[in-house]
Symmetry: C2
Subunit: 480 residues, 2 copies
């Protein structure tokens, strides 16, 4: 047997030693992504992509159940089109990639690779919307976009990332606002039901909102290291883009009106959120509903007669109730245990000669390391229930951690002390002025994450920064 | 009731009058695609995209069942990487889009938007393949690519198109060759089973093969106008790319070897193939397995009591057995009949007060215009069978047409006469020299489509062009 026969167990830096290195180790060693030859662009490897496909499938169904249709817009935007909405172009122009040549021919007008597609959608809306009967238009697309970021990290911030962008057009302001909130809630529900990630829903301050939006809403998740991760956003545009792109419709009174617009998106960044919410020092922990493999069967003493046959039988029985695989390679059981722990498979199923004699097997949970002995006959009943139990445990654990890492500050001294010593969210009152946001960034290195919908408690009467009357409770924090 | 209330029935140019205009009319009026602001880039509209999603779902399952995994590579290729394989870069460099600026900063090296991703995959293979145990690698990705074409038409030839590209790496030449043929056969099966399109499978001549391939295989379909459409290709690369990119592995004898490679792709062009294979002067005809709506319920005299309720009941019953919708809008039944005929919905279900009294409805087939009266109770049994019957009828009709439009020529005079007067495939012998291919292009305006696997009959002993001894039977034709 050659050396190639056995891979060594891959070592992961402890998250307490170096959280950033721990993250990178997991990304690489769990085969989620690889660095490419192009700076800031990653290769999503099969295991990572399989997670994304499961996430995409669940989200896509939620969108379609709400009446949205998929569409596909061009990848390139002419410079003149990008320039049509002033705030939008100012926000995005500094970070787009420009195409200037087609083959050997210099182009008359530059095109940028889409950083987002509001301008393209508006240009199309102009052609397809005429009457109130054409509204609402509920569109979505699954594509990749490019933003020329300076500092990049796999999944969290890359120059190209995969995402979906929803773009909808409505006859009234109220309808568009309802859509904006509905999609934010859809993201929050997805995070809870599929990723086992609790999020804080709220509105962004004007400083943090999307370029060209009237209002931006966000879901914010708290990572293991106490930093926030913006995990999905939903924007209300009013009729600003409609006016800029001359999109009009004849309303029920046959009067020409400007429709109201929304857009909303979430990205492959959510894979980063999963890693940093659930992972531990043994590696990745994947929530069951998005785990490419939910149950890994590891035969023990597999050379003994009957073991592989029985394991195969269990594999085939379980195929109907979960995503299951078996590793019958000649690596040792110990190697396999470490490997699938590192890859975050929710349940390991061990089966050896003595187990078979007794008609049982051992199930080992990735989330708690707990082992239970289960009768083989009961597996099809127990596995789905156990997967759901693991899901709920992961969610509750993350929620408890977030609660325990959420602090309240009523004055600047308190706030700075917390920001300097306690990673997590800080709840504090704000007067509504951008100046105070800038000051908190400078003096405490935190930014406003959102003005939460729930939990709008008046924790003090004055702005934590300037002491003027407070308008809103804000969640503050360091963020990715 | 305002004018906006009723759209007029959309008119389509007859295909005998102007085939190209007929095609464009269908693309636009059946809401499959729209032109965008960027020359040569199209917008795939929801109805067209829904067809693509169904095609993608079926193909993706076929690929995965054969052991392939999805992955996602960067959209950009550094110029130095594209340059590594000589023939490949010569084939593609003239038609790529170049990114030269990131934001306001001029890039040190240009990047092209991928026209295809062999170079990126090889660069990754180099990092992940070490031992024979790592092989085969069976990868695929669903992305869009850009080729700066001069003349474009929606779906058939666009500067950006959606596709899948499979890239596989094998320990031996034999394995790679088997994969190449297996994937070609997968495409042919997909065309038959889902698109109801018969194809000729064969090998491309060296002149027509992919830049950098040792051998290219193709499936060729014959359109309504007698022109061929290359509908999918599968390439065998030998170890040429492995050598150019220094991809090596330790074989079972621990000797360093170059792996053998394949790639294979098919694109949104297949939507064009569907239009031009099955469509008629009333519009699109969608094969049932990829029809977004398989059955459209049109209530007749829907204001009469009980009609809409019963139609709704039928709708709910049928949801379990097919993709069904109901149009209860206030457009007239006549308008609806024309609209869904134009949109190619396989079955229209008409239901009026008298039908309801009799416990029946009328099913109208899009492919034959035949109407049958069916008991409501039997619908869940009859509809799936009828959809399959329609699928088979479409396939057989297309096959018969192809057979009737396939001619044989044994000398140049005969060949020119056929090429000038009879649209379709021409079977004729070839000596194997590129010179003769060029001459046939010049004198008869036809190109070699493929050397078919089946039907390799020796129709004459000499090359149809030069009279030298013949090596292969070739299918020739005009092509998109």
């Amino acid at each position: 047997v050659s050396n190639n026969n056995k891979k060594m167990v891959k070592e992961i830096t402890s998250m307490d030693v170096d959280f950033a290195q721990w993250y990178t180790d997991i990304v690489k060693k769990a085969d989620l992504a690889a660095y490419s030859n192009v700076k800031g662009f990653m290769i999503i490897r099969p295991y990572g992509y399989a997670m994304w496909e499961l996430m995409q499938g669940a989200l896509d169904k939620m969108f379609k159940d709400l009446g949205h249709e998929n569409i596909c817009m061009p990848m390139l935007i002419p410079e003149s089109l990008l320039n049509k909405e002033k705030e939008h172009v100012e926000g995005f122009a500094p970070e787009v990639a420009w195409v200037t040549f087609g083959g050997s021919e210099k182009l008359e007008e530059r095109f940028c690779i889409r950083p987002t597609s509001e301008t393209l959608f508006c240009d199309h809306f102009k052609d397809v919307v005429h009457s109130w009967r054409d509204l609402p238009l509920l569109y979505n697309q699954w594509v990749s976009v490019v933003r020329w970021e300076k500092t990049t990290r796999p999944f969290l911030r890359t120059r190209e990332f995969l995402w979906q962008e929803g773009h909808t057009l409505h006859a009234t302001k109220e309808e568009a606002e309802t859509e904006t909130i509905q999609m934010l809630e859809t993201y929050a529900k997805f995070c809870k039901d599929y990723l086992a990630i609790p999020v804080v829903q709220g509105r962004k301050t004007d400083k943090e909102k999307f370029a060209g939006a009237e209002a931006t809403y966000t879901i914010e998740a708290l990572m293991h290291d106490g930093k926030a991760l913006q995990s999905g956003t939903s924007h209300y545009f009013g009729d600003g883009f409609s006016r800029a792109f001359d999109v009009t419709f004849a309303d029920k009174e046959n009067k020409l009106s400007y429709p109201h617009q929304t857009s909303w998106g979430c990205t492959t960044r959510l894979i980063g959120a999963v890693i940093m919410t659930h992972g531990d020092d043994n590696g990745l922990v994947i929530p069951p509903h998005i785990a490419p493999t939910q149950v890994m069967i590891v035969p023990v003493a597999q050379h003994k007669p009957g073991v592989l046959e029985k394991a195969e039988e269990v594999l085939n029985t379980l195929k109907g109730c979960c995503r299951v695989k078996m590793d019958a390679s000649d690596n040792s059981p110990g190697w396999k245990f470490a490997e699938y722990e590192m890859k975050g498979v929710p349940i390991r199923l061990e089966l050896g000669p003595r187990d078979i004699e007794n008609g049982v097997c051992i199930l080992s949970r990735r989330d708690t390391a707990e082992k239970i002995t289960v009768e083989l006959e009961k597996l099809p009943e127990i596995i789905p229930a156990l997967l759901q139990e693991i899901h709920e445990n992961l969610y509750n654990r993350a929620l408890e951690r977030r609660i325990s890492m959420t602090y309240t500050a009523t004055n600047m001294e308190e706030l700075k002390e917390i920001a300097a010593t306690k990673p997590g969210f800080i709840r504090a009152m704000w007067c509504g002025e951008e100046e105070c946001e800038l000051k908190l960034k400078e003096e405490a290195d935190i930014s406003s994450r959102c003005m939460p919908f729930e939990d709008q408690e008046q924790v003090s009467e004055t702005c934590v920064c300037c002491g003027k009357p407070a308008k809103k409770l804000v969640y503050w924090g360091k963020a990715y």
